[in-house]
């Protein structure tokens, strides 16, 4: 009795010790900015510290004396050892120049910068007064004052943005209210110190726009978001502690009752989650705040309005002169909306003049045509349906909303043999015609040259500099095609690829490819059409040679294209050649140059996606979707990014959205997958059934089959696989799906028989696929000799280049490493490119086979975190389950199986692997003493293997486990 009590006591105290150990947290050294600062009298360069006046994210600010100029200054010292110090000097060199460019009464002046023993330092004008943060802490700010402060900040931002300097960390602590009146923005460009890689840390969470928080590319609109939060605080008081990071987009939560509705509306639009939903420039915000202030002031003195109106007219006249008076400053861009225009020629090739002219304006360094997608997004934000046709009136309305400086309205009419094309430039504000230009073409072949002349003249009238016009000439025939019919087909192809998928049987290639084919038939040198066709072919896994042929044609014309189009083509070529790092850099460049370029955004995301950088891809797809809600390709990729990276909240929201949108085959398929990833296999199956009922076609049938596999309904999966409507289709996809299902059921003999018959039954079957699948069968059956024989055959065919790419070597290499002879496995895996998931998996498994299970597990854990759902290799989670089980690490093995089971089955990942993983889980639960789960899983496994071949090793294992559990239980 005493012994037992003592024992219990020992156990309790051992547990207490353990808990204390887990609970114990070491004190951390505080960041430098909380450490004591420099004492008064300390010398920093030639400056003498007088007193500390504040601390920021990167250093300490002192009031200091500049003895040379006998003036007091604010001295900001980047503390060595702080997180940003290593980058500090670099910033001081590169960014101080940019900041020094700013010269505005609303921006604190940078006098000097340098480096001393204490760290890199900056010298600013010394301000007297208090920060807005301090002012807010004292209590509410009167509305008039709030409007004045907001206006001053907006004006400062507008100036900086024109100089291409972003703030990135605008917050009350960075706004200084001068004792003599007026507000100044501090720390301009300082956030850039953090560099692109750590942009997110450059801001303060509560004031960071969603895209900045997400670490994605940011532009001036991120500063506008911060301004919105700041205005919100001015209206509603400081955010309470704990909520400071949760500023919600939309109207203030506690708006001051007296706040004018237009001000609340402005704050709402500034803090919109989508950058596009925000005002387009700081200047626009400044003007809006000015209007609100004036209207409030005007209540008391209506008489002043007349004067104001006169002033406004004068300003308009000035703007009109500025628009086409003299040459623009370099880099001064003029956003333009191009209306669809009026085609009175009766020739359908001129129906899309707006798109045509938009393409012709693309190289302009002055005029910035606003893409249709962006205008649609702006319309949606304003609560208007995106106009089906952008006529004069709709164009003006959108141009005003978008802050465009000019609306261009084209028209064309026939006059006998002559075709007259006219372009009218309209002021979006008042509808005045600023100018109109007409060109004529005698017959259609002369039309492209007439359009070139028209656009060159337009660019000149819109103040494009002569040297820019010379450097970037407008030449339709060079930039696209001289054949307007080919161009029409090309535009139809682009439309097709962008719109929700239509008919039942059609893939994007089948539906949209013919448009590009027609364009190429009319103009075989039409580089952009070749490029678009190549991307479609690439997306559908076409034979690489076909993709390469179109890319070769696209590349040969790339030099003639706009820089943007040429970059797109070269980047895709880099991707085709496997140089994805180059492709990624090129796409990033395009996105940086034009953050609303949907194609660049999609491609920048796509290249990351296929490199397994899913988290990195997310902001690009999100941005692309914000510009074109419902676009299928970004949506599909974004869904998979959310799913694989475990962002279930976002995934659930997407599933909800998919249910709400009108059903299309693609959306329905996405919903099936999203539900499966969300761990709702039953719902996924139901949705897949509905999809098949609505749109009977191979894609929906394949999804139903996969959903059934995921739900463990193998018998029905087989029935569905057998009912597929495309057994006659070339390539043999339907057959291969059926074979995979049979493998999952343990019916290897029938699978094997079908494989042998396949070459006779299917046209266009890649000969590699037969040994490829036989190798998988041999792995499942645990037959190393057959595994090597078939793998060797795959290697031989791939090396001979028989219509197959090297990715088909991945599965054999991994399977050999798992089950075959290690020496053979090494041989095959050495053929895989280094750094790929498949190769890393094979190497990890070989470590395991040579006795280093710990090292193998470590490598697989790392792999799972970077590429949990590889396209070609086996899921690292499953391989981890094998490694852990071999070491008796049952808890880890069971957890790994759970992670594996969450993955949407792709390829033959669920063929023999699914039942094997279920067996490992049952075994692990049995060993952990969780007999109920072990029994249930064994019963389920035996159910799956109900019709399996007798003598299947897995069947024997499962029965043994069942007997063991029965015996012990």
């Amino acid at each position: 009795m005493t012994e037992r009590t003592a024992d219990a006591g020992r156990r309790a105290s051992a547990l207490s010790r353990l808990l204390a150990e887990i609970a114990s947290v070491e004190e951390a050294e505080l960041p430098d900015r909380f450490a004591p600062g420099l004492p008064a009298g300390a010398a920093v360069g030639r400056f003498l510290v007088l007193r500390e006046i504040g601390r920021g994210g990167f250093g300490v600010v002192y009031e200091a004396l500049d003895p040379e100029l006998a003036r007091r200054v604010a001295l900001k010292v980047l503390r060595p050892g702080s997180r940003v110090a290593p980058r500090g000097e670099e910033w001081v060199r590169r960014e101080a120049e940019a900041v020094a460019r700013l010269n505005h009464p609303g921006i604190v002046t940078l006098h000097d910068f340098g480096r001393a023993d204490q760290g890199a330092y900056l010298v600013f004008e010394l301000l007297r007064g208090e920060t807005l943060a301090e002012r807010l802490a004292r209590g509410k700010v009167p509305l008039e004052e709030a409007l004045a402060i907001g206006g001053a900040i907006a004006a400062a931002l507008a100036h900086a943005h024109r100089a291409e300097v972003l703030h990135r960390d605008l917050k009350p602590a960075n706004v200084f209210l001068c004792a003599g009146g007026g507000a100044k923005v501090l720390d301009f460009g300082v956030a850039q110190l953090f560099g692109r890689g750590r942009e997110a840390s450059g801001g303060t969470p509560a004031y960071m726009a969603p895209e900045q928080r997400a670490g994605g590319p940011v532009d001036a609109r991120a500063d506008l978001y911060a301004l919105g939060v700041l205005l919100h605080e001015l209206l509603a008081g400081p955010l309470p502690p704990g909520e400071a990071g949760e500023a919600q987009p939309g109207l203030p939560r506690r708006p001051r009752a007296s706040s004018p509705p237009e001000l609340r509306q402005l704050v709402g639009s500034l803090t919109a989650a989508a950058p596009d939903a925000r005002p387009s420039s700081a200047g626009e915000v400044e003007a809006a705040l000015g209007r609100i202030a004036e209207s409030r002031a005007g209540r008391g003195r209506r008489g002043a309005l007349a004067g104001l109106a006169a002033l406004a007219l004068a300003a308009l006249a000035l703007a009109g002169w500025a628009l086409f008076g003299s040459r623009a400053e370099p880099r001064e861009r003029l956003p333009a909306v191009i209306a669809d225009g009026e085609n009175l020629t009766g020739d359908p090739d001129l129906d899309r003049m707006g798109d045509l002219l938009g393409l012709l304006l693309a190289p302009s360094r002055r005029v910035e045509p606003l893409a249709r997608g962006r205008l649609d997004a702006i319309a949606r934000r304003a609560g208007l349906p995106p106009p089906a046709r952008l006529d004069d009136a709709a164009g003006r309305k959108l141009a005003r909303l978008a802050g465009a400086g000019v609306l261009l309205v084209p028209s064309a009419r026939r006059d006998g043999e002559l075709i007259r094309v006219t372009l009218k430039a309209v002021s979006p504000d008042d509808g005045r015609t600023l100018f109109a230009i007409e060109e004529q073409a005698r017959g259609k072949p002369a039309l492209p040259a007439a359009l070139d002349r028209l656009m060159t003249a337009t660019r000149a009238r819109l103040r494009e500099r002569k040297e820019d016009l010379r450097d970037t000439p407008t030449r339709l025939a060079r930039m696209a095609t001289g054949d307007l019919t080919a161009f029409r087909h090309y535009l139809e192809g682009l439309d097709c690829a962008e719109h929700p998928s239509g008919g039942a049987l059609m893939t994007a290639l089948a539906r949209c490819g013919p448009h590009f084919d027609q364009a190429i038939a009319l103009d075989p040198e039409f580089a952009l059409a070749h490029y678009q066709l190549a991307t479609l072919l690439g997306a559908e896994g076409a034979v690489p040679a076909e993709v390469r042929a179109h890319m070769a044609a696209a590349l040969s014309g790339a030099d003639r294209l706009s820089r943007r189009d040429a970059t797109l083509i070269r980047a895709f070529q880099a991707h085709v050649e496997g140089r994805d790092d180059l492709a990624e850099a090129a796409y990033d460049q395009l996105v940086a140059a034009a953050p609303d370029d949907r194609e660049a955004l999609y491609q920048a995301g796509d290249v990351r996606f296929h490199r397994g950088e899913l988290a990195g891809a997310i902001p690009f797809f999100q941005k692309a979707l914000s510009l074109q809600p419902g676009a299928e390709w970004p949506l599909e990729h974004l869904m998979e990014c959310y799913a694989v990276t475990g962002r279930n909240r976002e995934l659930s929201a997407m599933a909800k959205e998919l249910r709400a949108l009108p059903s299309t085959p693609e959306r329905s398929r996405l919903l099936v997958r999203a539900l499966a990833w969300l761990g709702e296999p039953r719902q996924a199956v139901e949705q897949a059934r509905r999809a098949v009922a609505e749109e009977r076609g191979p894609a929906a049938e394949a999804d139903l089959c996969t959903a059934l596999l995921a739900a463990g309904e193998l018998a029905e999966a087989e029935a569905v696989a057998r009912r597929r409507s495309d057994f006659a289709a070339p390539g043999g996809r339907a057959w291969l799906t059926l074979i995979s299902v049979l493998m999952a059921e343990g019916r290897d003999r029938e699978a094997s028989r079908l494989l042998v018959e396949l070459p006779r039954r299917v046209d266009g079957l890649s000969p590699v696929l037969v040994p490829f699948f036989k190798a998988a069968l041999a792995t499942g059956a645990g037959d190393p000799a057959a595994l090597w024989r078939e793998s060797a055959r795959v290697v031989q065919l791939v090396q001979a280049g028989v219509g197959a790419d090297r990715s088909l070597l991945i599965a054999p290499a991994v399977q050999l490493a798992l089950r075959g002879e290690p020496a053979r496995a090494r041989e095959v895996s050495s053929l895989l490119p280094a750094g790929t998931t498949g190769r890393a998996e094979a190497e990890a498994l070989l470590r395991w086979r040579s006795g280093d299970a710990v090292g193998a597990a470590a490598a697989l854990v790392a792999l799972e975190s970077t590429d949990p759902w590889p396209e070609q290799a086996l899921a690292p989670a499953y391989l981890l389950a094998e490694v852990h089980a071999s070491q008796g690490e049952w808890r880890e093995a069971a957890a790994a199986v759970r992670r594996y089971q969450r993955l949407w089955p792709r390829g033959f990942v669920r063929s023999w692997v699914g039942p094997r993983a279920l067996y490992l889980s049952a075994l692990a639960h049995a060993r952990l003493g969780d007999r109920a789960t072990a029994r249930a899983e064994t019963a389920r496994l035996l159910g799956l293997l109900d019709r399996a071949d007798r003598g299947l090793p897995l069947l024997g294992d499962a029965r043994r486990l069942q007997r063991e559990l029965r015996h012990r239980g």
Binding site: L15, A28, L30, P205, R213, G242, T866
Partner: protein, 196 residues
């Protein structure tokens, strides 16, 4: 008892600075006094240096802003932990989106490194196992354990820390959660052979 010696002077200093109207000094005292432990806890519970650093920055900023409104209903230490926990929740929500994969890889890399360097020495295995047990805790569970066992806060105080606006936490519920957590960790430790 450990904390009384250290903490009481901090509370007193902050109170004195506040009474003198010197918000700057009060915030500095509070951050320098409670900061090291709070940053340690943020690192332990959020398990990412950068995320913890961001949460700490937000905590410092919110403490600064909130200090004038601090009414002394809870002890300053409890209130500071509450501000820190709110900051952790905020940054964690955003951090996951922002850092996503990097978080995964650093975590995995560290784990991989741990596993790689682990030797046959039993003590080291135990250390690793403790670390793994810790890795299995949610941030909430880690904070609960630390506040109760390491910081010896009363249940009412912990409830105050963990309550967020509109979601009050009851001390009794916390106590039950703590017991369940103890049981869970005990069972896990036994399964791993750390306890008999």
């Amino acid at each position: 008892m450990r904390y009384h010696r250290r903490v009481l002077p901090i509370e007193a200093k902050v109170a004195a600075s506040l009474a003198a109207g010197d918000l700057h000094a009060a915030a500095e005292e509070a951050i320098r006094g409670f900061g090291p432990k709070i940053l340690g806890l943020l690192r332990a519970s959020l398990r990412d240096e950068d995320v913890a650093a961001d949460a700490f920055s937000l905590f410092a900023e919110n403490l600064w802003r909130g200090l004038p409104g601090y009414r002394g209903d809870a002890s300053l230490r409890t209130w500071s932990y509450r501000v820190a926990w709110n900051a952790a929740l905020t940054v964690r929500g955003e951090g996951w989106r922002r850092l996503g994969r990097r978080l995964d890889t650093t975590h995995a890399g560290r784990l991989a490194e741990d596993v790689r360097t682990r030797t046959a020495v039993r003590v080291e295995r135990q250390l690793l196992a403790v670390r793994q047990l810790r890795e299995g805790l949610t941030a909430e569970e880690q904070v609960l354990l630390t506040l109760r066992l390491d910081q010896a806060l009363a249940w009412e105080e912990i409830a105050e820390v963990l309550s967020t606006e509109g979601h009050p936490v009851q001390p009794a519920a916390l106590r039950k959660r703590f017991e369940r957590l103890k049981d869970k960790l005990g069972a896990l430790a036994r399964a791993r052979g750390l306890l008999e």
